[in-house]
């Protein structure tokens, strides 16, 4: 059942693998050297000794002073601690000729630790110590203890330790259930952007998982249920960090690197170009380094270019061309196929071992060339074309002997061709500029020379059309041709000739002003809002008098009508009312000049209520009087 499951997974992975990932992060030789330096630090206790010794052995490097290390281990060993026994046993296993003395008590202690009540780490340590010291152990008991442990503690580190432990047990034991944990654990990995695959517990957990999974898979000879893309993503995660926080982290990276280089199922391949991937006539070989994750060259590999197509024209230049191995580097003479200059997309396949993962790589290769200028012809043409042009030919890198004169009736013209030096093919580089530099004033004007349909470059300077660029300053201008491109090895700056330009003199500025971009600008004065225009005081005064004049009219009319105040009684309420009313009118004036609404309302309330009471009284008296009269 498990076999069928794995087989179908394999078929599925082959079918799904259309666009395979390639590792974006890997260890370079300097990184491996740094890892080795970290692991070679002098150790202070048994734990660091274990990490250093076993870590270096995984990198394939033996410890400097084996005898001294062995003595250190033996002297720091604490036979009553399982952990100490584990470190000592594993370290001594990696050192040649180092034996740890074992007593019956030690063996009993280790065997007793194998039970459901110990932690997974304790079980791992005791089983590893027993196996390294060559002591017998009961595999089935270990398996049941591990299974019980996993069901109690379902975290990632426990399961990783269980996998490591299982790889030390006898092959007859029932490791099937523990093997299935690899798949469950792989499902718990976090996919970050399709590039990285790691546990949220961190780099160390991911690296330990890789080494444990492959150790167990090798032990039971069953392919781990990891897809190729997943393996590459794990490579990216583990090898993206190039300096390690702790010795245990460095150790985990070293053991992951070792298991990815030497296991029986998946070996990721790292392909990198040696130097920039650029080819020219002076350097016709494309060199590739093909290594495993530990930067060791894979000499059993055969590297093949499946196709090489030009990125611009999409035409295939090469197909199925093999690389030759020389001094650990694979090289191919690409210039022999005589490619035109430009960029090429290479599809490279690495074969030779069925374990290779990420063995299809896409590379972008640049082919550069040297350019030469042909048929540089300079001429001065009359605008009305009455006089035929005299063309002067100039050879690179010489300068034209005579200077050219062009005034407002003439056009200065330049034509040339750019060809590949070796093949003679016409080129159109990205930058073809014509620069005119006035030596006296320091002015320079740059134009672009454009190729026509036959790839012949033309440049024409009409003095009247272009006078604004030159600010109409006449004088001698040095003419330079600038040619450049990413695929050119020899960019050109060539002083072709001197050109004397004559502009109509009255348009020239009298002084040449340097561009004042960075000098202080004139200060801006803030203009406050101008008050509105008021009419003359005479007019306002006249109208004030005019508006007040109807009052006179009113008084006259009232007098004529016979309005009088004969009914004015001098009773207190009347007097008080009139005083109050006058006060209210006075308050209005004071409000206009001094007060705000709130103060006015306050005063008005006081005066108003007083006036109201007095007025009420007065009017009541008036009403009584009126009714009496009736």
């Amino acid at each position: 059942m498990a076999h069928l499951c794995l087989f179908s997974l394999l078929v599925l992975s082959l079918v799904l693998e259309t666009q395979a990932l390639t590792p974006t992060h890997h260890l370079t030789t300097t990184d491996v050297a740094r890892l080795q330096a970290v692991l070679s630090q002098p150790f202070t206790d048994l734990k660091s000794a274990y990490y250093s010794v076993v870590g270096l052995s995984k990198l394939g490097i033996s410890v400097a002073d084996a005898a001294e290390t062995c003595r250190f281990i033996k002297s720091n060993l604490d036979p009553s601690s399982v952990e100490s026994l584990f470190f000592a046993a594993e370290a001594s296993q990696a050192l040649p000729g180092c034996e740890i003395p074992v007593s019956n008590d030690t063996r009993d202690l280790l065997l007793a630790t194998v039970s459901e009540d110990s932690t997974a780490s304790q079980i791992h340590q005791s089983v590893s110590a027993l196996s390294s010291l060559g002591l017998p152990l009961a595999s089935q008991e270990v398996v049941s203890a591990l299974k019980a442990r996993i069901s109690k503690e379902d975290n990632v580190l426990t399961i990783i330790l269980a996998l490591q432990t299982a790889s030390r047990l006898s092959q007859q034991a029932e490791l099937g259930e523990i093997l299935e944990e690899i798949e469950d654990l792989a499902a718990r990995l976090d996919d970050l952007g399709g590039v990285y695959l790691q546990f949220e517990e961190g780099l160390e957990a991911t690296a330990l998982f890789v080494s444990a999974a492959y150790a167990l898979s090798d032990h039971v000879d069953m392919e781990p249920p990891l897809k190729e893309d997943q393996v590459i993503q794990l490579v990216n995660s583990i090898f993206s960090k190039k300096s390690w926080d702790s010795l245990s982290e460095a150790f985990s990276v070293a053991s992951a690197a070792e298991s990815l280089s030497n296991n029986r199922f998946h070996v990721p391949v790292i392909v990198s170009a040696q130097g920039p991937a650029a080819i020219s006539h002076s350097q016709p070989f494309l060199r590739l380094q093909v290594t495993n994750v530990l930067c060791k060259p894979l000499s059993s590999a055969s590297v093949l270019v499946e196709s090489a197509t030009a990125t611009s024209s999409k035409s295939a230049i090469l197909s199925q061309a093999p690389f030759t191995l020389r001094d650990g580097v694979f090289e191919l003479n690409f210039m022999a196929s005589q490619p035109a200059s430009g960029y090429y997309q290479f599809s490279v396949a690495i074969a030779g071992d069925s374990r290779f993962v990420a063995n299809h790589v896409e590379l972008k290769v640049k082919v550069s060339t040297r350019v030469s200028i042909n048929n540089m012809d300079l001429s001065v043409v009359d605008k009305d074309q009455s006089i035929g042009p005299k063309t002067t030919r100039v050879e690179y890198p010489a300068k034209a002997k005579a200077s050219f004169m062009a005034d407002s009736h003439q056009i200065f013209a330049m034509t040339f061709q750019l060809v590949d030096e070796t093949t003679g093919v016409e080129l159109t580089p990205h930058q073809t500029f014509v620069r005119l530099h006035n030596q006296k004033t320091g002015q320079e004007v740059v134009f672009v020379a454009e190729p026509d349909s036959k790839n012949l470059y033309k440049f024409e300077l009409d003095t009247t059309e272009r006078k604004t660029e030159f600010d109409s300053i006449s004088g001698t201008y040095a003419l330079y041709l600038m040619v450049g491109d990413a695929t050119l090895e020899n960019p050109i700056l060539w002083n072709v000739a001197d050109v004397v330009l004559k502009f109509l003199d009255e348009e020239a500025p009298s002084t040449i002003q340097a561009k004042t971009l960075y000098t202080p600008k004139p200060e801006i004065q803030h203009l406050f809002r101008e008050p509105e225009k008021k009419p003359p005081t005479v007019v306002s005064n006249a109208f004030t008098a005019l508006v007040l004049s109807p009052f006179l009219l009113l008084l006259i009319l009232w007098f004529k009508l016979g309005a009088n105040i004969s009914n004015f009684t001098l009773s207190p309420s009347t007097v008080l009312f009139h005083i109050g009313h006058a006060a209210m009118l006075g308050l209005m004036y004071v409000y206009w000049t001094h007060l705000n609404m709130f103060q006015t309302l306050k005063y008005l309330a006081i005066i108003g209520s007083f006036t109201f009471l007095a007025g009420n009284r007065m009017l009541a008296q008036k009403a009584v009087k009126r009714l009496e009269r009736k």
């Binding site: 509105e532 109208f543 005019l546 004049s549 109807p550 009319l557 009508l561 409000y591 009017l619 009403a623």
Partner: protein, 113 residues
């Protein structure tokens, strides 16, 4: 045509002079005064411009408001309208007139600036 207009106007003026009580004539004189003041203010605004627009508005509104209140007083005081204003005595009308004027002048002075 103009003849009949003139005759109507002269008849109206005669009627007015004879049958209107003096009190009402006093109020009418006051109304005329208010109207002229308002008209002159408007004339100034037309001729010279609306520069302190808030002042113009407050002055004009004051004239208009006073005119309206005076008209109300006239209506309420008129003995011929007694039937419609049974509960409001002339004194009460005058008191209302004074109170309304206080409120009007408060607003006008606030706005005159």
């Amino acid at each position: 045509m103009s003849n009949s207009v003139i005759s109507v106007i002269s008849r109206f003026l005669e009627e007015y002079a004879s049958s209107t009580p003096n009190k009402l004539k006093v109020i009418d004189a006051y109304l005329l005064y208010i109207m002229m003041t308002g008209a002159l203010q408007f004339l100034y605004c037309l001729l010279v411009g609306t520069f302190p627009f808030n002042s113009f508005l407050s002055g004009f509104i004051s004239c208009v408001g006073s005119f309206i209140l005076a008209v109300c007083l006239r209506i309420q005081i008129n003995p011929q309208n007694k039937g419609e204003f049974l509960s409001i005595s002339p004194e009460r009308a005058f008191a209302d007139f004074l109170f309304a004027h206080t409120v009007l002048h408060l607003v006008v002075i606030n706005f005159i600036g």
